[in-house]
């Protein structure tokens, strides 16, 4: 079977690119690390790929606000990205990647592609890295969370993860459409409705603050019960689903 091509988008200080690359490779995709400079110079085209991933990190230092500068750089190529997303090819934004998708206005999806929500400074006021229990919304159209149990564990690692939507209609669209595919069991950052991850209505474009690539294998878990060490873990499913969707 032909392997789906996954573009792992980088920029300066995109830090989780290699483990995201490894994860896609493990589930049978053909990943490629591509710097946004390569897109801007025309050396690579996003529409040549089947899957797109925005990994975690601190793109451009997360200066001004997290993901903002990367989002600004993407504007020149907005047409290509829009085509990719509207064409229902799978897109995942993890942590900084989610922040980028929010700040470009691709998530939550809206007609004008304008920013309708934000991921703001955590209530505690600083970066926090720990493991979080998450509820999986079984009614969500999200293709990435298919087949997961109702509750999973993933690590979070962010300073700006507080999900805020000001417009009531936009918020209703999220809850009515079950676009909040992942919610925190114990809210670590003050997100509205405990939201940890949001999808577009088609379920193909998904952004989440927690890191599935860091709980990809059972031995990455802080509490390793002897019996369950040598298996794949919850995070594996997110990547596997993306590849399966393309088939």
């Amino acid at each position: 079977m032909k392997k789906p091509k996954a573009i792992i988008l980088r920029g300066t200080a995109t830090n989780c690119d290699i483990e995201t690359f490894n994860s896609f490779k493990y589930v049978g995709a053909e990943p490629e690390l591509v710097h946004i400079n390569q897109l801007l110079s025309g050396g690579r085209k996003v529409l040549d790929y089947d899957i797109m991933a925005f990994p975690g990190g601190f793109s451009y230092g997360d200066d001004i606000s997290a993901g903002k500068i990367y989002a600004v750089k993407m504007r020149q190529l907005a047409g290509d990205f829009e085509k990719f997303i509207k064409g229902r090819r799978p897109v995942i934004g993890i942590c900084n990647g989610f922040q980028i998708l929010v700040k470009t206005g691709f998530l939550p999806e809206n007609k004008a592609n304008s920013q309708v929500s934000t991921l703001y400074t955590n209530d505690c006021g600083h970066f926090i890295a720990k493991w979080a229990k998450l509820k999986v919304n079984k009614n969500s159209p999200c293709i990435f969370t298919r087949g997961l149990p109702e509750e999973i564990e993933l690590p979070i690692a962010h300073g700006e993860g507080k999900f805020i939507v000001e417009d009531k209609k936009e918020l209703a669209a999220i809850t009515d459409g079950n676009l909040h595919a992942l919610t925190y069991c114990e809210n670590p950052n003050g997100s509205m409705l405990d939201i940890a991850g949001v999808t577009n209505p088609a379920g193909t474009c998904f952004g989440l603050m927690p890191h599935p690539e860091r709980n990809f294998f059972a031995w990455q878990n802080p509490d390793r019960p002897a019996a369950a060490r040598e298996t794949e873990a919850a995070g594996f499913q997110f990547f596997k689903n993306a590849v399966e969707y393309t088939r």
Partner: protein, 794 residues
């Protein structure tokens, strides 16, 4: 200053000294005289740039002249002379052991040992201190400290990929009541700044900060210690580097500015009121990340023949070091600058951060530039390595330096330093019986700043970026138990998820023991580091270690005496444990004047950082109890003495004896336990250290949410050991292990003949109950113990 420079060779000693002070070189009288002699011989006056270069190259920071200088040690009537203390202790241990898995020791920016199977990879490891800058500007000091040690790893061989950062901090007590001098920051402010600096730099550059420690003692009130370490992976065929005559000198990463003048000499000078702003910098993690991304790509394509970092001394050290055989021709006007108001000599010695120097064959420059541009990384071509052994540095038409390389890298004159054993009164009488209950004492120990939870610091660091932190700083059922060692699975460097090879990193640090017995401090620290690795399931027979000494003024013979004894301990410990030193660093003059104008020195502080392979990361161990019904064993002999214990800090027991480490017994014990761990008999292991055995057991219990019913009666112990010593003493070479039920027979077979005793079992009920034969010592519920331990330090 120009007037004095033009008559440099004829200046009397007094004026030389005044010149040194005005210029901020920190050269001593011998060195100044040597510089004068050399220029007299050449028959000309030096330029400012030349004297700056000499000051940087000969500085304490670059040459470590105290530790590698001659010392005379007096211990009562006994006298021992060292020509080179460092070589005769630390290096001697490594040479004696001569391990074939040591790939590079003491020669490069970091030590390198073999990693994983198949001989494909090396593991580079290095630790540094950045103390003085952190005292002055904690945030920027910590950031640039982290950035500096990462560059050491980027600059080792042809560049290693950093996969782990470590940090160990020493601060004054947060509740200190002592009056601070006018310009000193409070320990709370220093800690906050340092933690935020490590956080912001480490997180932005995408390297997990996953091992280290926090230590509070009034001795660090005016001189905090900030140890930063980094480990990275390097392909074995990229370890050798050699500048080829004709190569271009290329600087990549950050720009050069006035912000970094005189950092190297600053680290040897006492901090006083007029510390210049330029000695302190703010880090730029994003620039360093760009350099990292460029280096890893260019290395694998073979686009340069050598690399090193710009650290202390800036271009002068980095280019001087790379060109020490070939010479170097440098055109300073080519440097990219932050600021145009900068003198040529300042460009040459500025320590502006985030710069790496590459030696690039002309034919490969184009390809390198393509990568630099693709990664938006700034660079400049500053000249070439000619091969004539001459260091010629110009700025336009102006000669800044014109010296033979041999002059700089030849012998530095050195004083012989007197050293003397400090007189400490030892009271070995049994400790006074405590007035309070043992359970209450345990709670107080758990709440002590040197024992309590570090989660409020650790969770600010992204300790899991790169997806390889298998052994976490916070572990167990609730993800909050105190791990003994980080276990790293470097998938982001090897790109191989089917290879489960990993490595552990741990530390040993016991300055409280050092105040009583510096020799035993070194032994205890090595033992603690090795034992921590064992608890994580590493193969400790392949341990490699780093030494990082921090001390007060070496002009004090007792400070030098402490150093000599600790260095001897390093030698003996390393040989006994078969653990060679692969790299090390030292920092002196960690003392300042207090509010009353008196000298306020730090205690001698030796951080041992250790690494050992973990054959299969999936089998790495954690500290928490796993399952009710599993038997619990105590390994090791509990010895007498409360010296250096946390208990003594809470309430002085009267006894300050330090238990001597039986190294041979410890090594045998660990070998047996190592086999049992490998055979899968062990479910959890945790070392006995700060706070003693009671703290160890409490941590294992509440990290797993499981209690234990324990009777210590069978545990091996020294005669006449009191209950206080058994529960709260910190004698070395002990660990508690939970054994898998059903595997006891195999376990006992593997540890046969060793001091390993069953002391009870893990229980479902969340209560820790401990007795000693007929004496009930304490019975405490886990929630209460954990509540005491889980303090918010920041």
């Amino acid at each position: 200053m120009n007037d004095t420079l033009s008559s440099f060779t004829s200046l009397p000693a007094k004026e030389l000294e005044a010149l040194d002070k005005a210029a901020g070189w920190s050269l001593n009288a011998l060195e100044l005289a040597e510089a004068q002699r050399q220029f007299k011989k050449m028959g000309r006056q030096p330029t400012r740039g030349e004297l700056e270069t000499i000051a940087q190259t000969w500085s304490e920071h670059c040459k470590h002249k105290t530790f590698s200088g001659p010392v005379v040690f007096k211990d009562g009537s006994k006298v021992k002379k060292y020509k080179n203390l460092f070589k005769e202790t630390i290096v001697k241990a490594t040479k004696t052991l001569n391990r074939k898995w040591c790939l590079s020791v003491f020669t490069d920016n970091a030590g390198i040992v073999e990693f994983g199977r198949g001989g494909k990879w090396g593991l580079a490891f290095k630790a540094e201190t950045h103390n003085h800058p952190c005292a002055v500007e904690p945030y920027g000091g910590a950031e640039t400290g982290v950035g500096g040690v990462i560059r050491d790893i980027l600059g080792v061989g042809l560049g290693a990929k950093p996969v782990l950062n470590t940090d160990t901090f020493c601060f004054g007590r947060l509740d200190s009541k002592r009056k601070l001098p006018k310009n000193a920051h409070s320990p709370e402010r220093i800690m906050r700044g340092v933690v935020e600096g490590v956080r912001d730099y480490g997180n932005r550059i995408g390297i997990p900060t996953a091992a280290g420690g926090l230590y509070f003692d009034e001795g660090y009130l005016l001189n905090p210690l900030v140890y930063v370490g980094c480990a990275g992976l390097i392909p074995v065929d990229k370890i050798a580097k050699k500048v080829i005559p004709g190569d271009l000198i290329v600087s990549i990463g950050g720009r050069t500015g006035r912000d970094g003048i005189h950092g190297a000499t600053f680290s040897s000078a006492n901090i006083d009121e007029d510390t210049s702003a330029s000695a302190v910098q703010i880090g730029h993690a994003v620039n360093e990340k760009k350099a990292l991304d460029v280096l890893m790509r260019a290395r694998d394509l073979g686009l340069y023949s050598a690399v090193t970092d710009c650290g202390a001394g800036g271009f002068s050290s980095a280019i001087g070091e790379l060109g020490s055989e070939t010479g170097a021709r440098v055109r300073l006007e080519k440097a990219l600058l932050k600021d145009t108001r900068i003198e040529p000599w300042e460009i040459w010695v500025s320590e502006s951060q985030e710069r790496m120097i590459l030696s690039v064959p002309k034919a490969k420059l184009k390809k390198l530039v393509a990568i630099l541009e693709a990664e938006s990384c700034e660079y400049c071509v500053m000249g070439e390595f000619p091969g004539d052994g001459r260091l010629l540095v110009t700025h336009g038409g102006e000669a800044v330096v014109d010296l033979p390389m041999a002059f700089l890298h030849g012998g530095v004159p050195n004083f012989e330093k007197p050293a003397r054993r400090r007189k400490i009164k030892i009271n070995a009488a049994p400790p006074a019986r405590p007035s309070g209950k043992y359970g209450q004492i345990l709670k107080e120990l758990l709440a002590h700043p040197n024992v309590c939870s570090r989660h409020s610091v650790i969770t600010q660091y992204d300790h899991e970026v790169q997806g390889g932190t298998v052994g976490k700083p916070l572990q167990g059922r609730y993800g909050d138990g105190p791990g003994d060692a980080a276990v790293i699975w470097p998938q982001a460097a090897t790109l191989d998820q089917s290879d489960f090879s990993g490595f552990g990193v741990s530390h040993g640090f016991n300055p409280a023991i050092g105040k009583i017995d510096p020799y035993q401090m070194a032994l205890h620290s090595i033992d603690e580091a090795v034992r921590n690795l064992l608890c994580a399931g590493a193969d400790v027979s392949r341990t490699a270690i780093l030494d990082n000494f921090c001390a007060a003024s070496p002009k004090d013979p007792e400070v030098m005496g402490d150093l000599v004894q600790a260095a001897e301990g390093c030698l003996d410990g390393a040989i006994a444990y078969g653990a060679p030193f692969i790299s090390g660093k030292d920092s002196f003059y960690n003392q300042s004047r207090d509010a009353d104008g008196r000298e306020y020195p730090i205690p001698l502080s030796l951080l041992i950082s250790a690494t050992a392979p973990v054959e299969d990361v999936r089998k790495a161990l954690t500290i928490n109890f796993k399952e009710a019904g599993n038997p619990v064993y105590l390994a090791g002999v509990s010895a007498r003495g409360m010296g250096g214990s946390v208990y003594n800090e809470l309430t002085d027991s009267g006894n300050n004896a330090v238990a001597a480490l039986d190294m041979k017994a410890a090594v045998k014990l660990y070998a047996g336990l190592g086999k049992a761990i490998k055979a899968g008999c062990v479910a959890a292991a945790h070392d006995v250290s700060q706070g003693g055995l009671a703290v160890t057991l409490a941590e294992m219990a509440f990290s797993g949410g499981l209690g234990a019913e324990l009777d210590l009666a069978p545990a091996a112990r020294e005669k006449k050991l009191t209950a206080t010593e058994l529960l709260f003493g910190e004698s070395p070479a002990r660990l508690a292990v939970e054994v898998v039920k059903g595997k006891e027979t195999e376990f006992l077979r593997l540890v046969k003949g060793l001091p390993v005793a069953e002391i009870g079992y893990v229980s479902e009920e969340p209560v820790l109950s401990v007795k000693d034969a007929s004496e009930r010592l304490f019975r405490e519920d886990l929630a209460g113990l954990k509540a005491c331990w889980r303090k918010e330090l920041i």
